[in-house]
Structure formats: structure tokens, C-alpha cells
Amino acid sequence: MELPRYHRLRGPYYRLEGRACPGCSRRFFPPRSVCPSCKSGGLRPFAFCGRATLYSWSHVLQPARGFASMAPYTVGMVRLEEGPLVSAQLADADGVELAVGMPLEMVTRKIRDADEHGYIVYGYKFRPLLMATRPRP
């Protein structure tokens, strides 16, 4: 990923910063400039809390270039507590029996292999809540 692009993405990638519509109060992640519902502009920054539930997932066995060292890895779509669905990698999912609706939380992790620019891209992933993956005492 090009450095200026990575720099532009640091709000959403590190802090799950999206936007909220002042007109209809819908929240968006990724950030948008115009609300697709009520067409208002002037959307305001909104930080999501990072709690989510699992909508669906897949284990990727045929990775794209830049992800070979991580394969097989798990990706999914998660429903943020505030509403939006988000596509992301799932972390710490090895050996965990995943299920639709299971609770997740955002963590910041390495997103891909270091590319030709040499730096590592970090960003959000979602992991199963520890409480949800441990057997009850």
C-alpha cells in the first residue's frame, strides 16, 4: 500500500472512525461524504465502539498476492453494535468454532505481508470475545 494512502486511512484503520449523518442519524463505516438515505452532506466523524457480532465468514485457502504468508486466514462480515456491516479479517479464530451471531471485538493487527515499500500495514480485525470462546467453569 502506498504511504500517503496508508496515512489517509489511519483514522478508520486504527480507530474504526466512520461517519454519522446529522439528517437521519445513520452511521457509516467506511466513512462516506453523502448519506445514501437522506442525501445530506456534512456527515460528521463518528467513532465506533468496536463491539460486533458475526454475520458470515470464510477461510481463504487461495490468497491474493501479499497475503501468502498468512494463508489460510479467516475473513468475515461483522455487524457493528451501532448498525453497519463491515468486511474484515478475523483474528485468533484458529480452533474456534465460529457461529453466526457470535460476539466479537475489534483488535489492531498486521493486515498483510510487508510489501515492496518495506513497511507493515496495521489495521482493524475482529476476534471472538474471550468469554465466548472459553469453556464455562
Binding site: 500500500m1 494512502r5 486511512l9 478508520p12 457509516f28 467506511p30 445514501p36 454475520y55 458470515s56 465468514w57 470464510s58 477461510h59 481463504v60 485457502l61 487461495q62 490468497p63 491474493a64 498476492r65 501479499g66 497475503f67 501468502a68 498468512m70 486466514y73 475473513v75 468475515g76 462480515m77 453497519p84 456491516l85 463491515v86 468486511s87 474484515a88 479479517q89 453466526v100 493486515i111 498483510r112 500495514v121 489495521g123
Partner: protein
């Protein structure tokens, strides 16, 4: 607006053409379409292509093709709409003729994919997804469709095996098409045992990487009798869009752009889905066939698997799909697939589909989808 007809079609075999370039493939398809029409005149050339920059290191590809095909100094433009580029290029040609800007326009779809290794092609295809919020996270196209498929299976209590009839139908029909890439019939057991790409999606759920080009020559319907072969009228042409990111939809299992483009095209042709004799849909993955049939009104939500299980999608069924193999059986040279669908639909309506002929077909629908349902182009052809 003038009525527009397809007067000539051409296509290369789909396959791994190690000894042929993008240029060679496009020139062959164009030459065949012009011979088929028996008309020399070409006023403009539109080239449908998705990945020439990424896979061949070549942009300005419309000029390249015009030059190679001997069409200089005519207007030549590249039309790109991800995997819907092949549908979009006929739409561009249709609009140019319908509005009177040009009379004879060639639409060629071409893609050359096999020069690059699979991880490079996987990364290139992901360019149709959201670069910052899907592709940059390692979420491949197969993975996006796998996420959809697992959710569909969850909501409708379906098993992976329930999707097998789509792949079996595509291979059965491809076996009847000499231009198709995968001409071997397959069984349910083959489908179940196929290696996983991104679970639950396996190789036999997925249309294969391939090379190919297909071309159509269009002109005003009033002049179509000049052609050597029976003209095929374009009675509906529509394009619709949805969010680039799959997760940004209210319900990712509702493919609204697919639904909208089909509704608009049917409306223009004054037809309903039940009037359609055959449907060339965008079966890049089996789940896409399911969501497309449901979005276009051929099946209620959650019931497309039943439609396939009952054999209604077969050549002798009431809504035959992928009649010459579809993307799965014919092969999926991405930017060319939409033009292959349209060439095949025209051949069906001309009664020239050989052993894969749908008997009495007079109305065909071809639908090309780009991204994960983010752009769809639908055409209705009639004789």
C-alpha cells in the same frame, strides 16, 4: 431513439491461449463477426476489457485493437465495468447507434488472463472490490462470494451440495459447445470432492481463469436486412449500480443492481420474466446464479436452489440458463464474458446453437455483473 439490431457475431474458443496475445484474440473475434454479417462498414469500435493494464501492462487498448484490426482512423474507446465490461460494451454500442451518432458499431470483449500466475490474477480481480476496505484486507473475490454463500446457507437451511445442480448444468451444456473450455460433464460426487478455494466455495463453484474474445456488430434495425444472417433485435438494454463494498448493502443477499437492470430492460422490451425463453446469467460462482435468479424474479427469495434441483434451468426446462456452458463451463475471460453471453444468446435466437439449441427460443436475456453485484448490465434480444 432508433431501434438497434445485432447483425454479426464472432468468438474465439475460450481457453489457455499460450501462443496468442490480447491483440490476436480480439482481431480474430472481430474478423469473424464482420464475416458473419457480410457487411464491411464499421464507424466505431468499442472494446470491453477489465484488466489489460494489470495483466498485460497495456492500456490504450481500444487503439491497439483498432490498429491491429485495420480499423484506423475510426473512433475506438475502452469500456470498463469490472466483470460486466462485456455487457457494458454492447450497451455503449447500442447507445451510439440508437442516438444516431454512429450507424455501424463493433463491440468486442477481450481478456487475456493466463500470462500471469494465479495469485496475481486473484489480486487483479480484487481490483473490482473496494480497494481500501475489501481488497487491502486480503478479502478475495472468492471470499466475498463465500461469505454470501455461507450466509445464504444459514438463512435458508441449505447445504453446499444443494448448489451442485448449477455447476452440473453448466458443464453438461459446455460439453455441447465446441468453443467452451470445460467440456467434461461432472457429477455430484465430483462437485463434493472438488478442492476448496475459500470455504464453502470450491473449484467447481467457481468459473475458471481463461483467455478469449467475442464480438458483435450492431446497426440500425432499419438497415439490418443488408446482413447475411437473420438480424437479432436489441429490445432492452439497461445498466444499474449498487454500493461498491458488499457489506454496505442493507441486505447483501439482495442484489439490487441485478434486479434493477433486469426490471429496466424488461420494461423497455415490454416483457415479464415469464416471457423469457433463455437466460444467460453471470455464474461466476454458483451463489451468484442463485442470487441472480431470485433478484430477476425467476424464483422467490430462498427458492432458486429448488428451481435448479427440479431441472428447470436445463435446456429443456422452463428457464434454461448458461445454455452453452455459462461462465463456469465456457470459461470466464472476465471482460469478454458478457460479450460471449450475448453472442451465445444471438446464436440461440438464430437457431444456430447446434445440440445445445433451446427449441423455439425467440426471446433471450443476457446479464453481465461486475464486482460483487455492484454493477449489472442486462440486455433483451429478440427475433
Amino acid at each position: 431513439m432508433r431501434d438497434v439490431s445485432v447483425i454479426g457475431v464472432g468468438q474465439t474458443p475460450v481457453g489457455e491461449h499460450w501462443d496468442r496475445s490480447l491483440r490476436d484474440l480480439a482481431v480474430e473475434a472481430i474478423a469473424e463477426a464482420r464475416r458473419d454479417a457480410g457487411v464491411d462498414r464499421v464507424d466505431a469500435l468499442y472494446v470491453g476489457n477489465m484488466l489489460s493494464g494489470e495483466l498485460a501492462g497495456q492500456e490504450n487498448v481500444a487503439t491497439l485493437v483498432a490498429d491491429a484490426a485495420g480499423l484506423l482512423p475510426k473512433e475506438a474507446l475502452k469500456i470498463e465495468a469490472a466483470c460486466a465490461s462485456g455487457g457494458a460494451v454492447l450497451r455503449a454500442a447500442y447507445l451510439a447507434v440508437a442516438c444516431g451518432a454512429h450507424d455501424y458499431v463493433l463491440a468486442v470483449g477481450v481478456e487475456k488472463m493466463t500470462d500471469v500466475l494465479t495469485d496475481g490474477v486473484t489480486a487483479a480481480l480484487a481490483l473490482a472490490a473496494d480497494a481500501d476496505y475489501e481488497a487491502a484486507h486480503g478479502i478475495t473475490f472468492a471470499a466475498l462470494n463465500a461469505i454470501l454463500m455461507r450466509r445464504y446457507m444459514h438463512e435458508h437451511r441449505a447445504s453446499h451440495e444443494d448448489f451442485a445442480p448449477f455447476s452440473i448444468n453448466a458443464h453438461r451444456n459446455a460439453a455441447l459447445n465446441p468453443r467452451a473450455m470445460y467440456r467434461q460433464p461432472i457429477t455430484v460426487e465430483d462437485f463434493i470432492r472438488s478442492p476448496i478455494v475459500a470455504d464453502p466455495i470450491n473449484i467447481l463453484d467457481s468459473a475458471g481463469i481463461s483467455d478469449g474474445a467475442a464480438a458483435l456488430l450492431v446497426c440500425p434495425a432499419s438497415e439490418a436486412r443488408r446482413a447475411r444472417r437473420p438480424p437479432v433485435r436489441i429490445t432492452g438494454s439497461a445498466c444499474a449500480t449498487d454500493t461498491l463494498g458488499l457489506a454496505e448493502r442493507t441486505d447483501p443477499l439482495v442484489w439490487q443492481a441485478v434486479a434493477d437492470s433486469a426490471r429496466l430492460a424488461c420494461g423497455q422490451a415490454k416483457l415479464k420474466p415469464k416471457d423469457i425463453d433463455l437466460f444467460e446469467l453471470h455464474d461466476a460462482f454458483t451463489i451468484v446464479s442463485v442470487l441472480s435468479l431470485e433478484a430477476c424474479g425467476f424464483a422467490d427469495r430462498g427458492s432458486a436452489l429448488k428451481l435448479a434441483a427440479e431441472g428447470r434451468i436445463a435446456l429443456e426446462g422452463d428457464i434454461p440458463i448458461c445454455t452453452l456452458g455459462g461462465l463456469k463451463g465456457r470459461g470466464h475471460p472476465v471482460g469478454a464474458s458478457g460479450t460471449y453471453q450475448l453472442v451465445e444468446t444471438a446464436l440461440q435466437l438464430r437457431g444456430e446453437a447446434g445440440p445445445a439449441q433451446v427449441k423455439g427460443a425467440s426471446i433471450g436475456m443476457a446479464q453481465s455483473v461486475g464486482g460483487s453485484g455492484s454493477v449489472a448490465v442486462t440486455h433483451i434480444l429478440q427475433v
